[in-house]
Symmetry: C2
Subunit: 259 residues, 2 copies
């Protein structure tokens, strides 16, 4: 028996999220079907976490115990040949049998992408939230800074969250602006990527943070109101949940070098 | 009557090219339908040139004569509201009645994109030719350099070309490598963009150039063989036609400042 850790990139547009669902249209279902087809094993994979319907991922880790003798270097190509084109396995390695890709995850980074240019980008539209109205990026960055640290993030969690504690740590959060697709002389604002790295994330947490920061960017909220929202520990205090398609799991880090 | 010059970005994946076809599934058909819906005018637009089925464009110019009184600044949003999401009009300006977007085009640039990384990119796969085999990029660049200048490009034109002369000028041609999505420590080659700027292009010209350069990259042809292929003036001498999806019209330049 071997414990294999893999990484998968996916365009989540057409899926109901990562975690298996009765209808079967999830990333996990597709991966397990590909493994079944390849090895004959009807096994369950473990991932670093869930993603919502429509959310994307770059290098999302997952692992599973297999008795298959297929050499490590063959797994990616063999699985990709059995997966739809919007799901691509990019790494496979053997890890200790005790390794668990969810429990072992120490830091996760999500990226949320806003296209602030006047017009949507037909090439990137499936993974950008198009927001052509003027955004005060400096104010958004100030608001974002209030969220770094160890806090109770109840205000930024879905009301459906079943977690007993909403205390998490955000280690780092920053925004980056890509102006490469701005039309010269236009009022295009560029493509705004927000990266948030934390110990773990509650359901909808990044999307509620982004929905709140967009309110700050539109000057409907002062930047410092984000601190008040955090302190309120009340979902009703925060802004709306930003659309799923702008969100991507960007990276997951483990202790030691078994990531 | 006004002559309006516009620019359009499109993901050509699901279309039969730019130019109108009896089945009606072209970019031109979609643009003319949107104009008809907006203004009631059943007019014909003129573009800077055709693109093949599956080819993309960034800022492709087109123009048309209209009697509509709609103010200039409203056209883009009004047309985009009537276009599918993979076609986006990004600029509209008034030009002299004599302006013709095909006849006036002085320089056109195409970009061809090869994903040389081991695995396809689920996000960019619709506009990248995936070629994970090792490519000798230096040799490809040497081969490409032989094509710059004024030449008879019969070897790089579709046999179906009906043009009386195959003499064109390539002003500039270069390759650029984006390694941002390479996995650390892997044999990923990066994403290789080839930009070719010329006075005009024959049917399939950029794709046959790229199919030939890929043969050079795979060391099936010596780089200097490209000069022999050019001199042969025979389509059979060149390599295969590279897949359409890697190709995008990148820019079109006009004399004066009416581009």
């Amino acid at each position: 028996m071997r414990n294999l850790l893999m990484k998968v990139n996916y365009d989540g547009t057409h899926y109901d999220g990562f975690q298996t669902q009765p209808q079967g249209n999830t990333i996990q279902d597709r991966l397990e079907q590909a493994i079944l087809h390849l090895t004959g094993e009807a096994l369950k994979i473990t991932a670093s976490g869930r993603t919502d319907a429509g959310v994307h991922a770059y290098g999302q880790p997952f692992n599973f115990i297999t008795s298959s003798q297929i050499p490590l270097e063959r797994w990616c190509l063999a699985l990709n040949a059995r997966l739809p084109q919007d799901i691509v396995v990019t790494e496979a390695k053997e890890v200790p049998l005790s390794f668990h890709s969810r429990r072992g995850a120490k830091r996760k980074t999500y990226r949320y992408t806003i296209n602030g240019n006047r017009f949507p980008d037909p090439f990137q539209r499936r993974w950008q939230h198009h927001h052509p109205l003027k955004l005060d990026i400096m104010a958004m960055q100030q608001g974002l800074a209030h969220l770094v640290g160890t806090h109770d993030y109840t205000s930024f969690a879905s009301r459906k969250s079943t977690k007993t504690s909403h205390v998490r740590t955000i280690y780092e959060a920053y925004m980056e602006i890509d102006r490469s697709m701005c039309r010269p002389g236009s009022d295009d604002q560029g493509v705004i990527h927000t990266y948030i790295t934390g110990s773990g994330f509650l359901q909808h947490m990044v999307r509620i943070i982004m929905g709140t920061l967009i309110q700050v960017g539109e000057r409907k909220y002062q930047a410092d109101k984000v601190a008040d929202i955090l302190a309120a520990c009340n979902r009703a205090a925060a802004g709306p949940t930003a659309v799923a398609k702008g969100l991507a799991l960007w990276s997951v880090e483990y202790d030691e070098d078994n990531s």
